[in-house]
């Protein structure tokens, strides 16, 4: 609105081009889900809905979807609790290790996944001697999901300050009541945004999951990994992926609606 016209036009053009670049591979995925050729020959020799009907009936896909959802929900729940606690803890005090703790919180997401995955696998199996299971996956996911929640909540705290809570305590409410009636509603949209991003991160995670899953646990990315290698299953994977992308519009839209400013909702940064 305030930018000069020439700049606006060029920005508009570049945006369109970038969006096209982003969506061409996804459209290709959608196209291939109708491709008669099993190894996605280009151009597609023919079209069929056969793969979609197979995908609909695929038990493997369904159970993998369910497993992934469970893991993501658990990891998000834990991340919400722990991330909020961490943000609250780091909120007011300036203590010696504060920067270090901040760095440590970011570390799981800043270090390459293979390092994290390897460290966890080593830790679980050889040091602690426990079997890999869904819970080991959840624990590993939680470590990097905490970051998103932490950032969002911290940003919200920074923006809103602590006056309301102080006022509530002055009026005689105990810490738990204050938390329940004042703090939590304040944080609601930040938690929602953080939780959504955390869910997405956990849902699509493949590297760390590979290292922390047992041989029978199949989250969706693991299922996809295994099935992209099988001639008759690979097209089904395309169907599942295409369906997921279309579905994902819903929660993203909802998150935006419920949390005001678009940027703040998703990135929580301020």
């Amino acid at each position: 609105m305030r930018l000069p016209g020439g700049l606006r036009l060029s920005l508009w053009v570049i945006t369109v081009v970038v969006l096209v670049v982003i969506y061409v591979p996804l459209l290709l995925v959608l196209l291939n889900s109708f491709n008669t050729n099993r190894t996605f020959a280009w151009p597609p020799p023919g079209f069929t809905t056969h793969w979609w009907s197979l995908a609909w009936h695929s038990d493997g896909a369904r159970s993998a979807l369910w497993t992934s959802t469970r893991v993501a929900v658990a990891a998000t729940a834990m991340a919400l609790v722990l991330g909020t606690l961490a943000a609250m803890a780091l909120r007011r005090t300036r203590f010696f290790g504060r920067n270090v703790v901040s760095l440590l919180i970011i570390l799981p997401i800043a270090l390459p996944g293979i390092v994290t995955g390897l460290a966890f696998q080593n830790g679980f199996r050889t040091i602690l001697g426990i079997d890999l299971s869904l819970w080991t996956i959840v624990i590993a996911h939680t470590t990097f999901c905490i970051v998103t929640v932490f950032n969002n909540v911290q940003a919200r705290f920074q923006r809103l300050g602590g006056n309301l809570e102080q006022a509530s305590m002055d009026l005689g409410a105990g810490p738990f009541t204050t938390f329940r009636l004042i703090t939590l509603p304040m944080l609601r949209s930040a938690l929602l945004a953080g939780g959504l991003l955390s869910f997405g991160l956990s849902f699509d995670e493949i590297v760390v999951t590979q290292f922390t899953a047992s041989s029978t646990d199949r989250t969706l990315p693991i299922w996809i990994f295994e099935n992209l290698f099988r001639p008759n299953q690979a097209p089904i994977v395309n169907c599942v992926a295409a369906a997921l992308v279309l579905f994902s519009a819903v929660p993203i839209y909802l998150a935006q609606r419920l949390s005001g400013s678009a940027a703040e909702a998703i990135t929580g940064a301020r």
């Binding site: 020959a41 780091l90 005090t93 203590f95 290790g97 029978t216 295994e226 290698f229 099988r230």
Partner: protein, 405 residues
């Protein structure tokens, strides 16, 4: 206060854990190689052999080469796992692996009951205590296995079998019949003549592929003195590495995932390279113009053995699977689908192609001897030389990383 101590406690606990980690990090039992080593240069750890088969546990975790345990999910008409599940009540969970190295690593996790191990994995698994000796009396179909596959150096130690043979075959040379002219007859097509198809050659992505280069050198540079492609001293290994580095300039990609090779040949991204019969069959069935054959100078290959984990959670179902997969019907199905010689030649009457066993020389012990089966290279030279030390698999792995650059 509470917050300040958090930082300190975190650091302190980390240090404590470091100490625990130092003491605790150990990947299980060390193969106690004390006492006189066996013929293969090691003493296998003492692991009890199963004495009898008890009740079925209801499931079995199978680690298999792709194509060995088809359950219809790939192709609804190709399924020999479901009859097994119906007959025994053991639900089969199959995981595929792409290279022997992956198989060894996955077996170490203790999550799988049985594995189809090639000769370059078997001894490592035995020495590492990951597999148990097999009680062949418990397997009804053991009698039908060809005798030249029993009690071999790669599947037994001091006369004790550690598995049941599954089948064997050679690595083949596959080429695109339309674009590759004239048709190749030797491995020179991927080595010395590879520049003809620069950027379209493919090779197997595993250090064991060095043996293929060594085999080629055995024929083209006899003064190097290579007698066994798995027994290479430092100079011979260096020569093989040089050959492979030259080859790399012409490679499109190294394959380990068999479907990627099928794709590459169908798309025309690869025109010539090493392969397994099952890959050629899959590509042909999709209409790609490819042909696979055994070149004149012979080839490396694999002789696979089903082994049972020492930590198997479902040993009875495991034994049931080993017995089933070596039965004539299952052997006929697997061998024809994968394109290999079945270990149990009782299968020969049951194959849909009556000449199948002849084509694959299933009963021909002399032919079988000519294939250089995948074996783990060790310091003790496998060709019997005692004056030099040979390179071991660790050296080959480092060399392989170097080759890929």
């Amino acid at each position: 206060m509470r917050k300040a101590s958090r930082g300190l406690t975190a650091v302190a606990s980390a240090v404590l854990l470091l100490g625990v980690a130092a003491c605790g990090t150990d990947s299980g039992s060390d193969g106690k190689s004390s006492g006189a080593p066996g013929g293969q240069g090691f003493t296998p750890p003492d692991i009890p052999m199963q004495k009898s088969i008890g009740p079925m546990e209801g499931q079995v975790n199978i680690l298999a080469w792709p194509g060995y345990a088809e359950d219809g999910s790939n192709d609804a008409t190709v399924d020999w796992v479901t009859p097994f599940e119906t007959a025994t009540g053991c639900q089969a969970n199959v995981k595929y692996f792409a290279t022997s190295d992956e198989a060894v690593q996955l077996m170490k996790s203790g999550e799988y009951d049985v594995v189809s191990a090639s000769g370059d994995a078997t001894l490592r698994l035995i020495a590492g205590g990951d597999v148990a000796p097999v009680n062949t009396d418990l397997l009804k179909n053991y009698g039908g296995i060809e005798s030249f596959l029993k009690n071999q150096p790669f599947n037994s130690v001091d006369g004790q079998m550690y598995g049941v043979p599954h089948g064997w075959g050679a690595n083949l040379l596959m080429y695109n019949t339309e674009k590759v002219n004239p048709a190749p007859t030797s491995w020179a097509a991927v080595f010395d003549d590879a520049s003809q198809y620069a950027g379209k050659v493919t090779a197997y992505d595993s250090p064991i592929y060095i043996a293929d280069a060594a085999l080629y050198l055995m024929n083209t540079q006899p003064d190097l003195g290579i007698k066994d492609p798995y027994a290479l001293d430092k100079d011979q290994l260096a020569a093989a590495v040089d050959l492979l580095k030259k080859q790399k300039d012409n490679i499109s990609e190294y394959w380990s995932d068999y479907l990627k090779e099928v794709q590459a040949f169908e798309n025309g991204d690869s025109l010539v390279g090493t392969t397994w019969q099952v890959i050629a069959s899959l590509a042909e069935s999709d209409g790609a113009p490819v042909k696979a054959f055994l070149p004149s100078e012979g080839s490396t290959g694999w002789s696979d053995t089903w082994m049972i984990s020492s930590k198997a959670k479902n040993p009875n179902c495991g034994y049931a699977w080993m017995d089933y997969i070596t039965s004539p019907q299952a052997q006929a199905a697997v061998a024809e689908y994968f394109g290999e010689a079945p270990a149990n030649t009782g299968a020969c009457e049951l194959t849909t192609d009556p000449t199948f066993c002849d084509t694959y020389h299933a009963k021909d012990a002399a032919f079988a001897k000519q294939i250089h089966y995948w074996t783990t290279p060790i310091e003790q030279c496998l060709d019997g030389r005692t004056d030099v030390k040979c390179t071991d698999y660790g050296d080959w792995t480092t060399a392989w990383t170097e080759i890929k650059g």
